[in-house]
């Protein structure tokens, strides 16, 4: 019988010729077959990545894009009382018609009732409450008689400051930054508040901001506070 070479021999040479591999050439450490297989796989991976990576970046890019802040004139300083809301319509997204518009409830900052909003007042000479319900985003309306914001979808109820007093919402209504420019009142970007009316970068509805909620639902590059 012929002796069978021990494959686990620790004195294995790095040269294919010494190891008796078929198709070996002198001075080569890898067979040509193996080299070509690796080259073909590598070329295939490069070709696949060259269209897959741009396509993925294209699809996921909007998540990481930060949007420019928009400021929009909604009225003059004489038009908004400090104890009741006036609805105005602002444009959140231009170029898409009605779908890009939203109702905002405006009122002048009132030191008597806006006492919780300690760090809010300097940015909001006028209080602008978003009509987007903090449950799943239906439009709430201000009901003057009961002094409540009421959501038609699932019965969310908010008080004069936009804090939840009933129903499924997980945080108060969002607000918008405001500023006064001459006699014009301007509405700027959105921000979210927790139940103490502390400011947070805008979150989508249904995402609580108290306790662990602010970490479970992180802020996104596309929606940052001012």
């Amino acid at each position: 019988m012929r002796p069978v070479p021990d494959k686990r021999d620790k004195h294995k040479s790095k040269y294919t010729l010494d190891r008796g591999i078929p198709g070996a050439f002198e001075g080569e450490t890898i067979t040509r077959r193996r080299f070509m297989t690796g080259t073909a796989h590598g070329a295939g991976a490069v070709a696949a990545a060259s269209f897959a990576l741009p396509a993925l970046g294209f699809a996921f890019g909007p998540i990481f894009k930060s949007n420019p802040h928009r400021w929009e004139v909604v009225g003059n300083i004489y038009q908004f009382p400090d104890n009741n809301y006036v609805p105005v319509v602002i444009t959140l997204q231009p170029n898409i018609g009605e779908a890009g518009k939203s109702t905002v409830y405006m009122r002048k900052f009132n030191p008597e009732i806006d006492t919780d909003a300690a760090d809010v007042d300097s940015h909001t000479p006028y209080i602008a409450i978003s009509s987007r319900c903090a449950h799943v985003g239906c439009p709430v309306r201000w009901v003057d008689a009961s002094e409540r914001f009421i959501c038609p979808c699932h019965g969310g109820v908010y008080d004069l400051l936009g804090r939840r007093v009933g129903g499924p919402p997980v945080r108060p209504l969002d607000r918008f930054y405001t500023r006064v420019n001459g006699e014009d009142v301007e509405v700027g970007p959105r921000f979210s508040v927790n139940s103490q009316l502390r400011r947070f970068s805008p979150r989508d509805p249904g995402e609580p901001l108290d306790g662990i909620g602010q970490y479970m639902y992180p802020s996104r590059p596309g929606a940052q506070k001012l």
Binding site: L92, I96, A99, G100, V136, P205, G206, R220
Partner: protein, 267 residues
Amino acid sequence: MPKLPAPPLPASLKTPPPRPGQAGANAGPIEEAKNAGITVVDWVDERTSLSGAARWLMFRKVPKGTNWFYTLGSATMFAFLSQAVTGVFLAMYYRPDPAGGAYESIRYVTNDVFLGQFVRGMHKWGSSVMVVLVFLHMARTFFFGAYKYPRELNWVIGVVLLILTMVMSFTGYLLPFDQRAYWATIVGVNINGTGPLVGPYLSDFLRGGSEFGATTLSRFYAIHMLLVPGLIAALLGAHLYLVAKLGTTAPPWTKAHKRHELHETEV
């Protein structure tokens, strides 16, 4: 004369070969036409060997007790095919333009296009039919125990198909772009956003930004008509392949065949 491989029919259904003296191979134009058809099929088969695959797929043995419940999977597939065909024709009229064009194109299909209301109705109601059939098919598989070894992978593929069907329903709902479509999508995307940690990014991906924007509608349209139908078709093929490969199960009430003693006379 070319000859196709015969399907395994019982002997009583097979046409007997012509007896000597009867009208045989050289009989009339009808026989000629028949031969021409067989020649064409045979030409293709000689170059592709498809007849073996077709026979493997279609002439399978099915267990005793196979009944109407076993048609729910095919029914779901035909609902999908109906959605695909009507969807292609609806796409010829649809414009994914959020500034009013989308709503107007759907209004045009519904009110002005010949048979437009009918085709749109088929697509709209067919989606509900498909979802109902998917669940009935799933219930059949579950209650008959047909998900057990060796068919677990087919159950997993089926669950993915169920999820993809739901994605189709969700993305298709926005396309008419009326008030109901708009607000249902707002609510649906926000429900996606309530998933911890990844939820906010997922809803940003769906909207193509942090607010419902100019590309949200075209994004939903592309997912609805390009991305998911391709995935469904591919997984449907895998699902069917596994059904043909593994065979179907007998209903759970079927008694196991009683092993009768072998008599010496039979041996």
